[in-house]
Subunit: 120 residues, 2 copies
């Protein structure tokens, strides 16, 4: 016979939630499938909405806009609208977004090295 299990639930563990570690803080803003990728493509400079769509062909319009909005809300990207028709909207990194560049750059470096390993 075995003793009754104490529980390994998230709820029971939530006590530690407030004392978040810095990595968790960052992950909360740039985690997910798309955000780091979007930010990466903005490092080189501002991009129009349509340009981002082309740079990240796998993303759907819904996701691209949703993620851009969230990044904007977190003040990582800046959105600029030229009042013309058809619309002309440009996205760029804010200072806070720019300071994330090392993260994406490190990812790119690692990816370059190990993608090559797996192929070759």
């Amino acid at each position: 016979m075995y003793a009754v299990k104490e529980s390994s639930t998230n709820h029971a563990n939530k006590q530690g939630e407030l004392s978040k570690c810095p990595v968790t803080f960052t992950l909360d803003r740039i985690g997910g499938r798309w955000k780091a990728l979007i930010l990466y493509h903005l490092i080189a400079g501002p991009q129009r909405y349509g340009a981002l769509k082309k740079l990240i062909p796998a993303i759907t319009e819904k996701m691209l806009i949703q993620q851009l909005k969230e990044l904007e809300a977190d003040t990582l990207v800046h959105r600029e609208v030229k009042p013309v028709v058809p619309p002309h909207v440009t996205y760029s990194l804010t200072p806070a977004g720019t300071e994330l560049a090392p993260v994406m750059q490190a990812m790119a470096n690692w990816g370059l090295k190990y993608a090559a390993v797996e192929v070759g």
Copy 2:
């Protein structure tokens, strides 16, 4: 009246999938809510399963083990079992995992800086 929409679906865009960018490659292995955090806590050195659980109180056992397994399958972490009872299992970074440290370190740096901004 409007023209019929072409489609902005993922399927239609999948042509670009093979020519993956290096960031996507990296994200495929360390993306998600937990992996970067786990790797971060292994930078300082090998950790037992139970130690990781304490270092990351918000994670459930199921997730911790599942993520560790995936990281192991991607040869980012190494799992070592001492054949004793009770079990004694140690996780550590592989060379490939170690080379990801700059990513997590950059995240930690940014997190430290901007978490402070939000509070202060």
